[in-house]
Assembly symmetry: C3
Homo-oligomer: 274 residues x 3
């Protein structure tokens, strides 16, 4: 099946199946993650306790793990959530927010290495930092600056490919042009609105939406569908907003109105494979 | 006083008295809970620490306890918050989100049994699960699927009545048609917008709003007023929204504009007692 | 440089430099804090773990500490975050939400005394309570009622001045008329919209925005700029909103459109020094 056909099907299947995604995510953007997951047809449940890893994963179609804000319990809970996903053969999406910042965060990232994620989504600096923490490359540590990237997406290509080789899954590097790749193929997605950077949680919620699609399709299609949806919805939202507050509202509106046909028509202009 | 007169008075009294509600609630929807409580005239304060149970409850007119996301401290804090409400003779509203999911959650639910809540608000599956965990019925465990119900409201009637008998209070079962009952009467509320299911926190924030009304009226009137307000505001909001983002904004707007007269005019068409 | 020139420069510098603010803040309003910080040009990163105090502060231009919701880890983390700011000579803004409520909160407030904040922002009751907890005055304890003030801004003037003498920094008391003072000067800012009280987080997010400006200018200018911006944006937002939901959206929009010229034109009518 062509990528376009798979993407169209993923958009429709998410609306039809309402896949439940169990998320372990940060306190800053947890509400936006849930609302964007619902907007594309998914259902959202968030947990923090280790004893919920198995029960939540058992009823979920996919798992989303985001390390944006950590508390002591995360050291035990997040590795168990990832192990539960692998053990129960459910896809899981890893969002290594601020990778490299703090001992707890880095200890958790290292602990997650063996539970190979289906999709890793991050900005360039986060992707570089994870690849380094997982000792897939020695050189570049990446330059994490809080939750923002100071490296370019192209700088992160080598790291992203090393990560994809290790996991056998997909890596999505978010930036002005998104890169989505696996061990065999690399896709670039241009377009989108710069206003996405004026609201908190654009990246986190993209990870959460990719997890929704991972509940109904393969990881590569899920990452492409989510990334394209964000480029499309942000362009649409910018045209109907008067500032960053109304942009976020319009962005969620557009996601809730997303159709496969509109997304494919858009994708033809911005998606490049090589 | 007739129910309609009591509801009209509750809407006005909340705006006049600005009752403070102390809430112990989840991280996903905590902001929406606070904003909806403010929208109907209440004031909001949220806590998580056991040492805050007595001081917060002492200055509050009502307490709201929602177990949607749990952390280790909740095992100690939530039972103490409920005990403080009972000890200080303040009404408290229990929102058993995802009842049945995880050992921590079920341990907390069991610990809350003796501190009989004034109102229990949940979806059908949650109501059934609490009734089972409290050993008020042996048979049906309910089918919790994350935070969503897979049982119908009518399926939960027996459980709801068992809970009302135990607590001597009110049980509000949210669904396409809401049921609000106590040991003596049963009310059904139809209407409302299906878009409430497209945003996260519709149920949680209804629980928080019922707690605001419980700060100015009896539990039955509080549950009826909150449930009617959500049906009315969601219908109004749907008519002026273009997606799930603008729906949430319009929904809060409508709650902030709620009047007793408009609510009663609406209630005459959707509220049935039997 | 005149205050007006410094304010104009602060608004422009925040948009040009995008200062990163490391925040330790509450779960209720954390998303609004981040979005308002972004709206005025800053960048936001939130943490909760003690091991992140040094790394986060090292890459931040300013630190924001808000004690609105506490968990056990905060007892260790918040004092360390404040010490890191002092040690690394970065400005930090203290938001003593609900000061006086609970042993944990009061223990943290006492522990923060020695790490003198650049700016303390709170409502009248919180300012009075901190001054008491820091034993800068014996008499008045303040009347904290949840997160709301029951004392007037003028009642808090003595406490605010005692705090400014102790810290050598700035104290901003939020109310119908804001007071911003240091050991030498007192400013009053009138105007603003009463609708700010109908959304949760107006005060918290003001503290977060003052921290953004503290990353590009002196504490007094930062507090004046943030406080004026909130008065201006709330008036503008009220005129284009239909309820408290659309008010919050419009408020963030206005902050994202804030210009120094507009703010100064507004300030000439509402800012009084004496």
């Amino acid at each position: 099946m062509s990528h376009f056909a798979a993407i169209t099907k993923a958009v429709a299947d998410a609306r039809a199946a309402n896949p439940l995604v169990g998320s372990w995510t940060n306190f800053v953007t947890i509400n936006l993650v849930a609302n964007t997951q619902l907007a594309v047809g998914g259902r959202a449940a968030m947990c923090f306790m280790p004893d919920e890893a198995i029960p939540l994963t058992s009823i979920s179609k996919a798992t989303y793990i985001n390390i944006g804000t950590l508390e002591p319990v995360a050291l035990e809970a997040l590795p168990q959530a990832a192990e539960a996903a692998v053990h129960l053969q459910k896809p899981w999406v890893f969002d290594p927010v601020a990778a490299g910042l703090g001992d707890t965060r880095n200890a958790i990232i290292k602990a997650l290495k063996k539970s190979k994620p289906s999709v890793i989504r991050g900005n360039a600096s986060e992707i570089i930092a994870v690849s380094h923490l997982w000792e897939l490359q020695s050189a570049n540590k990446g330059n994490v600056d809080g939750v923002d990237a100071t490296d370019s997406v192209e700088d992160a290509l080598f790291s992203a490919r090393e990560l994809a080789k290790w996991t056998g899954g997909v890596v999505a590097v978010s930036g002005e042009t998104d890169v989505v790749l696996d061990a065999r193929q690399t896709f670039r997605i241009s377009g989108g609105s710069a206003m996405l950077k004026t609201i908190t949680g654009a990246g986190c919620s993209l990870g959460g939406v990719i997890a929704v699609y991972a509940g109904v399709t393969d990881p590569l299609t899920a990452a492409l569908t989510g990334s394209l949806a964000y480029k499309w919805a942000s362009e649409e939202a910018e045209s109907s907003s008067t500032g960053s507050g109304s942009f976020q509202v319009a962005f969620i509106d557009r996601l809730s109105l997303l159709s496969g046909d509109a997304l494919i028509a858009y994708a033809r202009g911005v998606l490049k494979a090589n």
